[in-house]
């Protein structure tokens, strides 16, 4: 086939009338496809799975969506770490529902990525072998209960800031997955803020715990938007394709502007001495982030990078016999029963 025959939204087999085996015909098809693709992007319409799309667009999307899915999956670990120790039954229920949502979000995103023609197993394999990236912040530990609050408020807050514009991403299945994710996540940030608010107004020790968590998560949360625009080569292309709608720095600024008053309402301080309102710009100025640390963590030198992967691998390994058993049972049932039964 001249280009990957892709599944559509429903991952179904396209009804091909003839195989374009002739190279000239293929080139012609690509040219027409590119023109149609450009037209759809220009009118801010959506690309659907079985549309012709440039190979780089497909590749870039598969990378972005699967990284996003991996982040949800690895992101279950730091918070999952506190489910069994949550300090009240209500908090335990909320946290469990949230971590479970993350599994669901990973699933929605893997489904969207699969429509690009790569099976979920392949994405799993990339994560399993350490070749795939995911959000660096999950390589930091959730040491205290206040970290659960900080993760909800800052990490989910940053994620939502990033994700809301992605609901309009040019790739249909990605946008639709993001709509579902954003809708479900609206409670994640609030519950985190509420945890911190309760701690901040609790005992002196609880307040200290809350401040400590914010101190540790503030910088990495701001880095979730990616490197500065000057250092983010893929961003421009991504924006031209209407996948990204705002640059990393624009989103980071939006997030900072949002959390400064929220921190005040919490009675907590953001750990940045340079944070100040800039009347002229109509935005908050903030200090330079530690990008050396960011790139080191990205390369796998995060405090818990190897632990996170090991946890993931163990779950995959220990589940293999279960997956195989269910598949074997299904084969046996299918063989025993006539079609339609």
């Amino acid at each position: 086939m001249p280009h990957p025959s892709t599944a559509q939204d429903s991952h179904a087999a396209p009804l091909r009338l003839a195989d374009a085996s002739d190279a000239d015909a293929a080139a012609e098809e690509a040219e027409a496809g590119q023109a149609r693709f450009d037209e759809l992007i220009a009118e801010d319409s959506r690309i659907e799975p079985r549309d012709w799309m440039p190979a780089d667009y497909r590749k870039s999307l598969a990378r972005q969506i699967s990284q996003h899915a991996h982040s949800e999956i690895i992101g279950m670990q730091p918070e999952g770490n506190w489910i069994t120790r949550a300090p009240s039954l209500k908090r335990k229920a909320i946290l469990m529902a949230k971590v479970q949502d993350e599994a669901g979000h990973g699933l929605y995103l893997y489904s969207a990525a699969e429509t690009l023609g790569t099976a979920r197993e392949t994405f799993y394999d990339q994560l399993y072998t350490g070749r795939a990236k995911y959000s660096s912040i999950f390589n930091y530990p959730a040491r205290t209960w206040a970290d659960i609050g900080a993760i909800g408020w800052l990490v989910d807050g940053a994620a939502i800031t990033n994700q809301v514009p992605l609901c309009r991403a040019s790739y249909g299945p990605y946008g639709r997955a993001m709509v579902r994710v954003c809708k479900e996540e609206s409670f994640h940030q609030r519950q985190g803020w509420e945890i911190l608010h309760t701690l901040s107004h609790g005992t002196a020790e609880q307040h200290r715990m809350a401040q400590d968590a914010v101190d540790r998560f503030y910088g990495p949360a701001l880095q979730m938007f990616g490197p500065p625009d000057t250092d983010s080569p893929n961003s421009q292309q991504s924006m031209a394709w209407n996948i990204k709608r705002f640059t990393n720095d624009e989103l980071r600024q939006r997030f900072v502007d949002m959390i400064v008053p929220q921190a005040e309402a919490l009675g907590l301080t953001l750990p940045d001495p340079e944070l100040a309102w800039n009347e002229e710009r109509g935005h908050y100025d903030f200090g330079e982030l530690d990008w050396d640390e960011f790139f080191a963590v990205l390369k796998g030198q995060g405090p818990l990078s190897s632990q996170r992967l090991e946890h993931y691998r163990r779950a995959r390994d220990e589940g293999a016999w279960v997956r195989e058993a269910a598949a074997a049972y299904a084969r046996r049932q299918a063989a025993a029963e006539p079609i339609g039964a």
């Binding site: 086939m1 990957p4 025959s5 892709t6 599944a7 559509q8 939204d9 429903s10 991952h11 179904a12 087999a13 396209p14 009804l15 091909r16 009338l17 098809e29 496809g33 659907e48 079985r50 549309d51 012709w52 529902a97 479970q100 949502d101 669901g104 699933l107 929605y108 489904s111 699969e114 023609g117 790569t118 099976a119 979920r120 197993e121 392949t122 799993y124 639709r176 997955a177 579902r180 479900e184 997956r323 269910a326 598949a327 049972y329 299904a330 049932q333 299918a334």
Partner: protein, 101 residues
Amino acid sequence: MTSEHSAHAGGWPLWEVFIRTARGLSHVHAGSLHAPDAGMAVRNARDLYTRRNEGTSVWVVPAEAVTASDPDAKGSFFESPQGKSYRHATYYTASEGVKHL
């Protein structure tokens, strides 16, 4: 046929999920999931896509059982209805101002 999309690549096959959110509405495509068989697929769909009371009924369909139109044939496949505005009520304007018509 879809050679690249390996629905069975070592894992469980892919299923498309349709949810009816309330009586009187159609089942609407909600997304997809993996499951070893239909029985587990419909249960997984319930667990995944109705966590917030979104559904009163769930359908699952093996992804490979869906036959779709060819997107490249869009021009010809969906051309016929174009220009047949007389199929729509708004085409008929003589009755404007007349009630209940």
